[in-house]
């Protein structure tokens, strides 16, 4: 039976853990609001870029050079998978679900005899794949801090990807990231980044748009498309980074909320145990005194 002092120290240590987790929860909540605002602010650009792209996409038949970002290389042997995780832990299943999903994806691609390379974003997935499939990592990006550095961080990743793409290092690029659904739920999503996935739901809509909007293009469609496609890759990555950042904060908030609640419950049960033990000691002492008095 633990002594009173043992229980007391346990209560204290759980109490300080609770303080930490509830502080982390509050920090995450305020960060979440900021990340959400950022994601919100980035939306007009990406949606307009998509609109422009969709009205142009039809004009690109097949081609060489940059147009390949849209039409593909014509091969699908070499894949590059980009898992987007957080840099820090303590956010529930956020990172591990990304890693698990990516791992599954890589295995299934490999079983179809595809060659897969990895480009993890975020410390947690880098560390995981450094252990699991070290030789397949070609590049990794950590400490991005997308909420403070902004678009620059997305540009780095996008430049690297495009560089590799035009060197012919891969044919398809798939992003695996946590889509921000609400403050408490994220959904692991796969998105094909290169070549551009034209099987979007918006495609139907855009067909209608393009028929009634006849634009003059300056200098010409192809030139614009050549400028637009690399930007689109960067902006997609930027969007994903922002979503993942908001998701991370949301996940951390939920995880820390849970932890705080659990700590509270634990303190309650420990306090109960403490009181019982104390009562047991008192009773024992009383019995001793009484039986001692009787024997005299």
């Amino acid at each position: 039976m633990p002594s009173l002092k043992d229980i007391k120290t346990q209560i204290n240590s759980v109490g300080s853990t609770k303080k930490i987790t509830s502080a982390m929860k509050m920090v995450a909540a305020s960060k979440l609001r900021r990340s959400q605002e950022k994601a919100e602010a980035a939306r007009p650009y990406s949606s307009r870029l998509e609109e422009m792209l969709s009205s142009l996409a039809s004009s690109a038949a097949s081609g060489e050079g940059i147009i390949k970002l849209l039409t593909g290389t014509g091969n699908d042997q070499n894949y590059i998978v980009v898992p987007v995780s957080a840099d820090r832990g303590l956010c529930g299943g956020f990172n591990s679900s990304i890693n698990r999903e990516t791992f599954k994806l890589v295995k299934s691609l490999e079983s179809n005899a595809k060659k897969v390379q990895l480009m993890p974003v975020g410390k947690k997935s880098r560390d995981f794949f450094n252990r699991a499939m070290k030789d397949q990592i070609i590049e990794s990006f950590v400490d991005l801090n997308v909420s403070s550095t902004g678009y620059e961080s997305a540009l780095n990743i996008s430049n690297k990807l495009q560089e590799l793409y035009f060197e012919g290092k891969f044919d398809k690029c798939i992003l695996v990231f946590n889509k921000f659904k609400s403050a408490i739920s994220q959904e692991v999503t796969q998105q094909q980044l290169i070549p551009l996935d034209v099987s979007n739901s918006e495609k139907e809509e855009e067909k209608e748009n393009s028929s009634n909007a006849i634009y003059d293009y300056e200098p010409d469609e192809e030139t614009i498309l050549k400028d637009l496609l690399p930007k689109n890759v960067s902006i997609q990555i930027f969007k994903v980074l922002l979503e993942s950042d908001a998701g991370e904060q949301g996940a951390r908030m939920a995880a820390m909320d849970n932890a705080t609640r659990n700590a509270g419950e634990m303190i309650d049960s420990l306090t109960l145990k403490y009181n019982r033990t104390r009562q047991a000691f008192i009773t024992k002492e009383l019995i001793e005194i009484i039986s001692g008095a009787e024997s005299i």
């Binding site: 997305a154 003059d216 293009y217 930027f238």
Partner: protein
């Protein structure tokens, strides 16, 4: 219809959104003056000035953009720019310094930045109309 709605958007946020009289946009093949009822044009941009004039032809805002795209239709003009700075927040001497630094650097990347910086310098030094 005497005004046209104008959006200036950067990847990070929506910078300008209002009804204005005239916008001058630095198109790749030359500046575009956009008035209400402009024909439908889609153009890529070179680094340069975006000038916004009110309905009574006074300069409202001026920006420097480092390239991007514009989509124009009779009612609306959208500029998607990669990086946007307000023109009067630019400082001539610091741009000159930047050009100097970039000039000594001979990578492909800095070449690109150099051309942007040069355009920036031009945007600051070349005079413009406060009223059109």
């Amino acid at each position: 219809m005497t005004t046209i709605s104008f959006d200036l958007v950067s990847p990070e946020n929506l910078i300008f959104n209002d009804d204005v009289g005239t916008i001058i946009v630095p198109g790749k093949d030359g500046d575009l003056g956009v008035l209400p009822g402009h024909s439908q044009v889609m153009s890529s941009l070179r680094p340069g000035r975006v000038m916004v004039y009110s309905e009574d032809k006074n300069l409202v805002k001026s920006f420097f953009v480092s390239g991007g795209f514009t989509e124009i239709n009779p009612e609306k003009c959208i500029v998607l720019a990669e990086s946007v700075v307000e023109l009067n927040s630019l400082d001539k001497s610091s741009i000159e310094k930047e050009i100097e630094e970039l000039g000594s650097n001979e990578s492909k990347e800095s070449e690109e930045q150099l051309s942007i910086a040069k355009a920036k310098l031009e945007a600051v030094t070349v005079s413009f109309y406060d009223k059109i």
